[in-house]
């Protein structure tokens, strides 16, 4: 605003009226956003400064004590954060690479391509409970599970997919990729269709190979969808909870407990809503910072 004034920029009367109309149009959303999003965030922070039972009893101001315990003593907080980041590391690249690969594969002008696009997107519309129940069967222990039955039929030993701490999180990540990759595929597909065919034609005339076209035209052309997918994926991965709850319940022995599940346990099972709110606020700051860094990183790249 100061820069505009400095440049001697002034809105005319009509422009001011138009701006006012714009403000009036977004006001209902703004009011609802403040009431249902912004104020609860502030209230969450206020609760995190208290001992606060989930039913609203036993409220006592404790200042930053919850944060102090969280950072200095709570081993489960750190292990849950570790599990969450591990999950994000496993599922994130899988979702992006597979989504992009599917989009490239389905970005063809051939008869019936719409059917394939629908088929690959379909798992995304299933509820988490359905996905959980199906994959609990697919990766069931012993020889009753579908994958283990296949392994046994070729003479391999069955694997404890969800009941072994080394296998459980990768198996959850595989399930997540199968379930959610359709969404990323759709975003990349839309991005691919925005890239002008003339760029490819020109590059081919100059002797560009397939890899060169992909590297110098497709990938830069997908910068915005890529940013969108990465930010969204990171947020979704850090917030993972229902899928793990249905598949492993955080087990075995807490080895797949993500941060949101830990937050839920402390808040609702242990009644420590104040402590749970502290975890939520730390998560909020973490995600906000990462998202800002990502946006800055990509916008910097765009400028270059």
């Amino acid at each position: 605003m100061a820069a505009i004034r400095k440049a001697g920029f002034r809105l005319s009367k009509i422009e001011r009226q138009e701006a006012l109309v714009g403000v009036v149009f977004i006001l209902p959303f703004l009011i609802l956003y403040v009431i249902f999003n912004f104020l609860p965030i502030l209230q969450g922070f206020w609760i995190s400064l208290h001992n606060w039972d989930v039913i609203g009893t036993n409220v006592r101001f404790v200042g930053l004590r919850n944060y102090e315990i969280l950072f200095s003593k709570d081993k489960l907080f750190w292990s849950s954060l570790e599990h969450t980041l591990f999950f994000a590391l496993l599922a994130g690249p899988g979702l992006i690479v597979t989504g992009l690969a599917l989009a490239l594969m389905l970005n063809q002008r051939v008869r019936g391509i719409g059917i394939f696009r629908t088929i690959f997107y379909m798992p995304n519309i299933l509820s988490v409970t359905v996905v959980g129940l199906v994959f609990a069967r697919v990766f069931a222990p012993g020889e009753r599970g579908f994958v283990n039955a296949v392994l046994s039929s070729i003479g391999l030993e069955p694997i404890a997919w969800f009941l072994d701490e080394a296998n459980a999180m990768p198996t959850i990540a595989i399930t997540k990729v199968w379930w959610s990759v359709g969404f990323n595929m759709l975003i990349f597909l839309a991005g691919l269709q925005e890239i002008s065919q003339s760029l490819y034609d020109a590059a081919k005339v100059d002797g560009g190979g397939r890899w060169s076209l992909f590297r110098h035209i497709t990938l830069p052309g997908l910068r915005r969808p890529m940013l969108f997918v990465i930010v969204l994926q990171l947020i979704a991965s850090v917030q993972v909870f229902p899928l793990i709850d249905v598949l492993t319940g955080g087990g075995p022995a807490g080895s797949t407990r993500p941060l949101v599940m830990y937050l839920f346990e402390r808040s609702f099972d242990y009644w420590q809503l104040g402590y749970g709110s502290a975890i939520a606020f730390v998560m909020f700051v973490f995600l906000f910072s990462i998202s800002i860094i990502q946006l800055w990183f990509f916008s910097r790249g765009e400028g270059n």
Partner: protein, 438 residues
């Protein structure tokens, strides 16, 4: 003509006032419960014949009450299991239901915060005889000596037995009953015989049945306790270590159950129904399902017997949960409303024998001794369960105890931690919980 209109007008007025007065006299109670929603199937049904599902029985019982008690109508709000999310939200919003159902181990934390109405006096006033509850069952409704919940049933860990496979191992007597082991040596010997004869495990266990439920049962059987005299949790004790080592030994034997990481709850149940295990350690809630499958004839299991959880040490002790009816109207509730609520609870309790069809154990001696209960399938086979059950200590940490101990014992079973470290970690987490509450 005018007079006639006047008289008719007065009549209408009197009648409408009378109706209004009657409507005001009728009280509507809200009941928050889980057990599912099946109004489409049972919404108008008032005949309990042949109904064996939790949801069906509860819906029909409510319908019958409403038909018989026009003065106290009951409105059901169905919550998702375990019912706490909706109940907590309702209490926090200051609009609690008049009645709710909860697992007994959750009662202390609500009662300690003044969210529940004390019931001992009002139970007596409406005619609920507290001495009729079995010793084990009464505990589930108590907190600091006061009833805050009316124990409705006992959902215990029991031993489901495939008699045909036991017979192959020569472990069925002349009366057709299994020869149940009464010591560790007997148990191991029986497991080896069954495995030698059939190649199948004698007592398949998965999930919590193999961890916290077995552990707490053996701690009680060894004479240990889960709380000290001050009410603080004690899990890092010599008895707990002995019990945990025993749980691990049973796993290592390889003839009691399949390895922990090769089985989950659903598959253990399928294995038993398909005749792939000679026994299953699981809950009372499975009984009706197995009986139904046998009657339908689509499973390998044919001759089915239900035994108590094996007592292998000196003292009786079996894990059980218990559904309790409670009044979450707080400490200063309207006495008339509380009395009406407890009248409904008493009526449910008086008719609880119908609930036993699901397989649940009963909490009242008079119901357990009734002909109707005794005539239900298998009930005589595990009759002592109602006396042997032990509740989680009636402390605010009771609910947290369950999840924490399961996780730590699971870590020991999967060899992620040594038994000593697992118990020490469980104790530390429980101590933290207690410290947080103080």
């Amino acid at each position: 003509m005018r007079r006639l209109i006047l008289i008719l007008g007065i009549l209408v007025l009197v009648l409408s006032l009378g109706t209004t007065a009657l409507a005001q006299d009728a009280m509507t109670l809200t009941v928050l419960r889980f057990f599912g929603d099946c109004v489409d199937d049972f919404g108008d049904v008032t005949d309990l014949s042949g109904i064996t599902s939790e949801c069906g029985i509860m819906t029909v019982l409510t319908n019958i009450w409403n038909e018989e008690h026009p003065d106290i109508q009951v409105e059901t709000i169905v919550a998702d299991w375990p019912g706490t999310t909706q109940l907590n939200a309702a209490i926090a919003a200051g609009t609690p239901p008049d009645i709710a159902v909860l697992h007994g181990r959750r009662i202390p934390i609500y009662a300690s915060r003044g969210a529940l109405t004390p019931l001992t006096d009002v139970m007596e006033a409406v005619g609920i005889d507290a001495s009729d509850f079995t010793e084990g069952a009464a505990d589930y409704g108590l907190y600091q000596g006061e009833f805050y919940g009316v124990p409705f049933d006992l959902a215990a860990t029991i031993w489901h037995i495939n008699l045909d496979l036991w017979a192959e191992a020569g472990l069925v007597d002349d009366m057709g009953a299994p020869m149940l082991p009464t010591s560790v040596e007997d148990f191991v010997s029986a497991a080896e015989k069954v495995h030698a004869a059939t190649g199948k495990p004698i007592a398949e266990m998965a999930g919590q049945a193999a961890t916290v439920r077995s552990l707490t049962a053996y701690i009680y059987q060894l004479g240990g306790a889960l709380a000290d005299d001050a009410g603080n949790p004690t899990i890092d004790t010599p008895e707990a270590l002995e019990a945990l080592n025993f749980v691990l030994e049973l796993q290592d034997l390889g003839v009691v159950s399949r390895p922990y990481n090769e089985i989950n709850g659903a598959i253990a149940v399928e294995n038993f129904a398909n005749g792939e295990s000679a026994g299953l350690i699981d809950g009372t809630w499975r009984i009706n399902g197995f009986d139904r499958q046998i009657a339908e004839g689509d499973v390998a299991l044919k001759n089915y017997y239900v035994a108590d959880f094996p007592q292998l040490f000196d003292n009786p002790g079996t894990f059980a949960g218990s559904h309790n009816w409670l009044v979450p109207l707080g400490q200063n509730a309207d006495p008339a409303r509380v009395q009406a609520a407890v009248s409904f609870i008493k009526w449910l309790s008086d008719n609880s024998v119908v609930w036993a069809r699901v397989g649940h154990g009963m909490t009242r001696s008079s119901v357990i001794n009734s002909e109707e209960f005794q005539n239900l399938p298998h009930r005589a086979e595990y009759a002592s369960m109602s006396q042997n059950v032990r509740s989680v200590p009636r402390e605010v940490w009771g609910n947290a105890f369950w999840a924490i101990v399961h996780e730590e014992v699971e870590a020991a079973v999967l060899e992620i931690k040594t038994p000593e470290v697992a118990l020490a970690d469980a104790q530390a987490r429980l101590d933290d919980f207690v410290l947080f509450q103080s």
